[in-house]
Structure formats: structure tokens, C-alpha cells
């Protein structure tokens, strides 16, 4: 597989592509299986805006409309296009960032050869992912014995693949012109999301409906290919656009100076060089940032923290007011959901505002946001410095390993607190604006417990990283514990004989005491705090006794 740049690019990426597409196909099967037994007509009473936003297609109707709509039309399209963007952004700019493009071009290959090989690999991988989705989409109804006649999975897959290639080429072109991988993936992702929003929301306003037609996402989903088959004009626009972007990339990569391996220039760096803001930015970015190990560790992953805290804030804010927009049929239908489905969305009574918040926000969204940041931070606390080989020079200073460990654990707490505060402020404003009547004290209790849960899961990553010096197993362990404890808490109670075991799940300590409706369960809070303290205490001897990697 190392015969050429093309095959090496395939080798590096095919697993991710197949896993991504297969997960979406599996999700389709699950969704179909769950919805097969229930009356889904309440979905179609949701406002058109909500249906559009989640990709559900009223034209198809019934089970197929929900399953193919929400899973393929939205999630599948975003995943396959997201992977294409990631590959496209890495194709030129990624090799520049890693400093490997120079040595690659030391071989008898032109820049055009490299670009063509990378683009070819991106297209082939996208075709592969699309084929997996197509096969999954054809197989799912057969396996489940569901009637999906009238759904044109092939047409949907073709549109979806062309759409993904288009966005992958946007990232390639930006990367080819700038050599900046972050700009390439960020720019393309932002353009894609903007395009998706334009394509789904603008048609709601008659005056702006025409504008939606120039959004590339509209060329993918605007003609509802799953119902109407391939729209040749739209497909031609997507493919033609991709070709034009390819030419743009070709011009870009050939005309500019290539960059060597470079440090990132952040927004704060720009403020530090501007005479007006220099003094203040210097305090934040410079002297304060390096004042201690905790301060430095707190600033190391500020990008991730700001993004996730922002998302948590927005979502927490959003779910309050949206509760009032739900049609009565929606909550009534939820009451008739099977137990398994209720377990999946967090066992909440959705007929109350507190239950709605728990099901939509607290049971999954908040823990996912917390784990995303805290498992990553926890894993990289010690193992990250070892992998970057900076631990050696850090420990050349008169600080004990224990001191480094505790300072890093302190930073983990700071990350958790920032996420908790962002969530609390968002959900409080949302609840007050929406007039949901959930007491602020309960919101505080639930957010605090969610923060402590995230901290405990971050501590799992922290202890594995401390013991092994490797961040990948640390992240896997924390994610595994999170998923297991979620399922233990949500599904074990369905079986009377196993229900008692759910009490051992940290998720049960988080939501089992019903903090949104009842009062603060202090015992559960103590258990979550104890979990973190014990894990950090266990990490100390594990980290102190072993050979450090270098």
C-alpha cells in the first residue's frame, strides 16, 4: 500500500471512512427498528422548520421519511462530507504542517502529481463511504422486514457522494492556496454548515427562497432525491463545482511558496502584536499563561474549550424556549413510546419541562460535551507532555512528579468549571426566557452534578494517561466508561433483576436522584467527587513509579 502517494493516502484513511459510513448505516438500522413499532405520524405535525432542520422529508412520509431523512439526509451527509473535508484539508496543507511535504517533493513528483494523487484518494474514499451507505440503506429494510418502497436510496447516495466531494474540494482548494490546514478544514466546514442552514431555512421565507437555490447543500437535498431520483442539473452543478475547485487548487498549489513546519498563529497572538492591545494580551497570553503549570495547562487547549463551552451554552439556551413550540401531539406521542426508546433518551417524563430538559439536554448533550473536552484534557495532561517529549525538560526543573500531576489535575478542574458555568448560564437564561418554571437551584444542582460526572470521566482518562504515558488508550478508556455507565443507568432498570446494578453507574449518581425535579442529592454529589479524588490519588503512585517515555 506504499506504492504511491495515492495508495498511501488510501491506506491512511480508509478505516476512518468505512467506520464512519458503517456507523451511519447501523444507526439507520437502529432507528428503523425502534420506529417500526410506533405510530410516527406525530413527527409530521412538527413545524416545517423543525422537520427541515433535522432532514425529515414529508414527501416520503412514514417510517422511511424519518429514518432516511434524519439519518442519511442529515447525519450521513454531514459525516461523509466531514471526512472528505478532513482529507481535503490534509492533502496539501496537512503535509505542510507536518513538515513532510518538503521531503515528499524531494522525490521526482511535481506538486501537481501530489495534488492529483491526494484528490484522487479523497474521491475514491468518498465513493467507498457512499457505497457503504448505499448498501446499508438497501439492506436495512430487508433485514428488518420494513416496507421502504418508493425510497430511491441509490439516487440519495449519488447526491450525497457528490455533495461530499464538493466540500472536500472546497477544503483542498483553501489548503492549496493557504497551506493552512486549520483554515482549510474550518473554512470548508463553516461554508458547509452555512450552506446547509441556507438550504433548509431560507425556503421558509418566500422572499428568500430563490437565494437558497445557490447554496450547494440545496443541490444535494433541495430536489429530495430520495423521493424524486437524481436531479441531473443539481448533480452537474456539484460535480462541475468540484472540478472548478480542483482547477483553483491546482493553480494555488503551483504558484505560491510552500510553508515549512510552523507554529500556529492564534487570535491572541495577533492581539499581542498589535500596539493597542499588546499590553493586555501579553498579560493573558504571556506572563500569566506561563506563571505556573496549572495556568499553562489551562491555556493549552483553550481552542477546544471555547468551542465546546460555546456549543454547550447555545444548546442549553436553545432547549428552554423551544419547549413552548412543541405541538401537544408531540408530548402525547412520547408518552406512548416503548420503554426501550425512553431508556435511550434518558428515562425522562417529557410531559414536564424538567423532563424535557433532562431528555433533550442533560441526559446526552451535556455529558457528551463534558467528555469531549475533559477526556481529551485528562488524557493529554501527562501523556501529552510525554508524547511531545516536553516532560523531560519540564522535570529538569525542581518540581516533583507529584506536583506536576496535581497541578495538571487542578487544570482539569478549571476546564470542568468553565464548561459547567457556560452550561448553567445558558440553561438558566433559556429556562427564564421560555418561562419553563424549573427552579434555578435545580438547574444549578443538575449542572453541578453533570460537571462532576464529566470531571470523574476526565479523571478516568487522567489516571490511564498517568499510568501508561499514552493518551489514546486514556481517551478510549474514558469514552468506554462513559458509554458503559450510560447504558447501565438507562437500560438495566428495564430488567427488574438487574435494576439494582444501575446504582453503581456514575450516570445514576448524576441523574438518578432526579436533580431537575427534586432537590440536590448530596450523597450522589459526594460519590462523584469521591470518584475523581480516588482516581487522582491512584494516579500519583502509578505516575511516580514508572519510567517516563521520551
Amino acid at each position: 500500500m506504499l506504492a504511491s502517494i495515492f495508495t498511501k493516502s488510501l491506506r491512511d484513511r480508509w478505516v476512518g471512512e468505512v467506520v464512519g459510513a458503517a456507523s451511519i448505516a447501523l444507526l439507520l438500522v437502529f432507528t428503523m427498528a425502534i420506529y417500526a413499532d410506533i405510530d410516527t405520524s406525530f413527527y409530521y405535525e412538527l413545524p416545517a422548520a423543525v422537520l427541515d432542520a433535522v432532514g425529515i422529508n414529508p414527501d416520503l412520509g412514514g417510517l422511511s421519511g424519518i429514518a432516511y431523512g434524519s439519518i442519511y439526509n442529515l447525519m450521513g451527509a454531514l459525516v461523509v462530507a466531514g471526512i472528505a473535508i478532513s482529507i481535503g484539508a490534509s492533502s496539501v496543507a496537512g503535509e505542510e504542517r507536518d513538515g513532510t511535504l518538503g521531503v515528499l517533493l524531494g522525490n521526482p513528483r511535481s506538486r501537481t502529481d501530489v495534488l492529483a494523487a491526494k484528490v484522487g484518494a479523497m474521491v475514491l474514499l468518498t465513493v467507498l463511504g457512499t457505497a457503504v451507505l448505499w448498501a446499508g440503506g438497501e439492506l436495512a429494510p430487508v433485514v428488518l422486514g420494513v416496507d421502504a418502497s418508493g425510497v430511491r436510496v441509490g439516487a440519495l447516495a449519488v447526491h450525497l457522494g457528490a455533495n461530499a466531494v464538493f466540500w472536500g474540494m472546497v477544503a483542498t482548494a483553501i489548503g492549496a492556496w493557504t497551506g493552512n490546514r486549520t483554515a482549510a478544514s474550518g473554512g470548508a466546514a463553516a461554508a458547509m454548515v452555512g450552506s446547509y442552514l441556507a438550504a433548509t431555512l431560507l425556503p421558509l421565507f418566500p422572499a428568500a427562497a430563490g437565494v437558497a437555490q445557490v447554496a450547494p447543500w440545496y443541490w444535494f437535498s433541495g430536489s429530495t432525491p430520495e423521493a424524486n431520483g437524481i436531479h441531473v442539473g443539481h448533480l452537474a452543478l456539484l460535480v462541475g463545482g468540484a472540478v472548478v475547485l480542483g482547477v483553483v487548487a491546482w493553480v494555488g498549489v503551483n504558484r505560491r511558496d510552500l510553508r515549512d513546519q510552523q507554529g500556529r498563529v492564534t487570535f491572541l497572538d495577533r492581539l499581542r502584536t498589535h500596539p493597542l492591545t499588546q499590553r493586555y494580551a501579553d498579560r493573558v497570553a504571556g506572563s500569566t499563561r506561563v506563571s505556573s503549570i496549572t495556568a499553562k495547562a489551562t491555556s493549552d487547549q483553550q481552542g477546544l474549550l471555547v468551542i465546546v463551552a460555546g456549543i454547550l451554552f447555545m444548546l442549553s439556551l436553545y432547549y428552554g424556549p423551544i419547549y413552548n413550540l412543541l405541538p401537544p401531539a408531540f408530548t402525547e406521542a412520547l408518552a406512548g413510546f416503548p420503554d426501550t426508546l425512553m431508556a435511550m433518551i434518558g428515562q425522562a417524563d417529557m410531559s414536564t419541562a424538567a423532563g424535557w430538559l433532562q431528555a433533550e439536554l442533560f441526559s446526552l448533550t451535556i455529558p457528551i460535551g463534558m467528555v469531549t473536552v475533559l477526556a481529551s484534557v485528562g488524557a493529554k495532561s501527562l501523556a501529552g507532555e510525554e508524547a511531545a517529549r516536553t516532560m523531560e525538560v519540564l522535570l529538569a526543573n525542581p518540581v516533583a512528579r507529584r506536583h506536576v500531576l496535581l497541578a495538571k489535575a487542578g487544570a482539569l478542574v478549571v476546564y470542568a468549571v468553565v464548561l459547567g458555568v457556560a452550561t448553567f448560564v445558558g440553561v438558566t437564561i433559556g429556562v427564564l426566557v421560555g418561562g419553563l418554571g424549573v427552579p434555578v437551584a435545580n438547574l444549578a444542582a443538575a449542572t453541578a452534578l453533570g460537571t462532576l460526572l464529566g470531571l470523574g470521566l476526565g479523571a478516568v482518562a487522567f489516571v490511564v494517561g498517568a499510568a501508561t504515558g499514552r493518551s489514546r488508550p486514556a481517551i478510549v478508556a474514558a469514552t468506554g466508561v462513559a458509554v458503559l455507565s450510560y447504558f447501565a443507568w438507562s437500560f438495566l432498570p428495564l430488567s427488574p433483576s438487574l435494576a439494582g446494578w444501575a446504582n453503581l453507574s456514575p450516570f445514576d449518581w448524576y441523574l438518578g436522584g432526579d436533580p431537575l425535579a427534586a432537590s440536590m442529592p448530596w450523597g450522589d454529589a459526594a460519590l462523584l467527587v469521591g470518584l475523581t479524588v480516588v482516581l487522582v490519588a491512584v494516579a500519583i503512585p502509578l505516575f511516580e513509579r514508572r519510567d517516563l517515555r521520551g
Binding site: Q262, D269, A388, V393, L395, A396, P398, V399, A400, G550
Partner: protein, 322 residues
Amino acid sequence: MTTTPDTPAIHTRGLTKHYDEVEALVDLDLEVRRGEVFGFLGPNGAGKTTTIRTLLDLIRPTSGTATILGLDTHADAVEIRRHIGYLPSDLSLYPTLTGRDTITYFANLRGGVEWSHVEELATRFGADLDRKVGELSSGNRQKVGLIQAFMNRPGLIIMDEPSNGLDPLVQQEFQDLMRETAATGAAVFLSSHTLSEVQRAADRVGIIRDGHLVDVEGVHDLRSKAIRRIELVFDAPVGGDEFAAVDGVRDVEVRDRSVLLNFDGHMEELLAAATGHHHLVDITSEEADLEEIFLAYYRDADRPDGAPGGARPDDARRGVGA
């Protein structure tokens, strides 16, 4: 501290490190005195970095003990680091920090350093402290590493391949700094695979190969037995036999009017042979590389149970080895 000026800067006894089946370091007995530059010389993979990482308590010995400035390397690790400077090989720093931020960070962890000294070091090395470390070339990054190693006026500086990427002018400045540091009574432990670097800076040299300390000797002794690759050019073709007969000559090769040979004897004997019956037109002499010296002098010295190597010219003078 239990330290007196006579306490060795580094003292190891039977220091051994195994990784699974691999013996990275075997029974290392080493003493580095204060006020000297000690060169630690060996080819890649000989165990130099393992020794240093063990001394710094980054990894733990399988057996044996070590002290730095009279303090135990494990029990007193933090106290030791107050008094030493360290420059790892193939230095990694935080790419998003500037050089100044990096130095500030480490200075804070040390409870402060003399900034005037930092500025002085930066000027000497010509280091740009305002750029991000990630944007620096390896040589310029190495300057930041050197500054942080010297900035606290340590009693012992441990450096692993410190000259990597430094240009000749900065290398000269660095050599001077090492000498000045040793003159103040501090010790410098300089690990390197480059014979010339060690020869220029060090007072004594320890030679390590395959995890065994093969020899410790004064740098002048090492230089005197350094093999030279010599090319003699004559005005007419000559035979090789008469040169092969000179003491210390080996690997003679005749190419038309020139003779190539490896030589570790007395130069005047070779010159006498070359100028006696022929017209010598040109002579070039260059240092053989380290591996050739190892092969010539220490071929079997690293075998703990093996007989002393026959290739070694003067076993009697060597205290360590078999």
C-alpha cells in the same frame, strides 16, 4: 545538603538498566568531578541517553545507585534539579510559546532566575526570544534549550548531544561557555557521538559502547592514540610494503603515485619512511571517525565475560573493560 567541594558531581555504582530483554546499561561505575568538563562518548544506541535519563530520575535503574552532588538521584530528585541544568537530546519545547515565554515558565518553576543572566546568554548565542518556538529552526530552538540549561548557574550541567544544529560560531561560543562554567567549579557532563567536539571541550572522556563503560581517560591520552587516515602523494609510483613495516601502520593501499593508510604511531617514523628514498609531494591527514577508533581499540572490551581483545594496543594502561 551534605555536599562538600570534594563530593563528586556525579557518582554511579553498578548502575544497570534493562528493558525487557535488552541490556541498555550494564554495571556503570562513573565519577565526574567538580570543575571538569566530562565527555561521555559513544556511538548511537550505546546507552548515553539511558544513563542521563536514569541520572535525572526520568527512568529508574534495574539495579545500582547514583548520586549527584552527593544527593541520591531518586530520593532527592527534586533537590538535585534545583542545582542542575539539563538539555535533552533532540530537544522538544512547547511550539506555541515564544522563547521568552518558555524561559519565563521554567524560571517560574525554579522560583525565579537572574534575568540579566538570561539576557546575557541570549546575547551570547544570538537567540531570538520573541518568536514562537514552533517557528524556530532546530539550531535556534537549541539556543533556547541552552539558555534554560545555563540560566540558574547550576553546579552540574547535563547535556545530551548539545551541538545539534548549532552553527560553528555558536558552537565556539558554547565551547567557551562550557570552559568558563567549569572554571567556576561547576561540572559539565557532555554526551556526544562526535569525537572532535568532546576533544575540544572535555578534560576527561568516558567511552561507552553497548551499555558498557569501556574506558575513562584524559582527553590528551585519547587524542594521542586517535587513528589518523593519511594519504601520501609522491612524484613517482611507490610500493606499499615499506610503509606497512612502520610501527602503527595498517590497511595500506597503493593507488598509482599515492599511498593511503591508517596510522596511530609516531608521525616522525612515518615521515622518515616517506622522505627517505622518495620525493614526497603532498600529505593529507584526517581524523578517523569514532567508529573506526572503537573498532581498533575497543573491539572486545565491551564483552563482560570475553577475553581482552587482541586488537587493543596497550591493555596495561586501561583500568576498566573486561
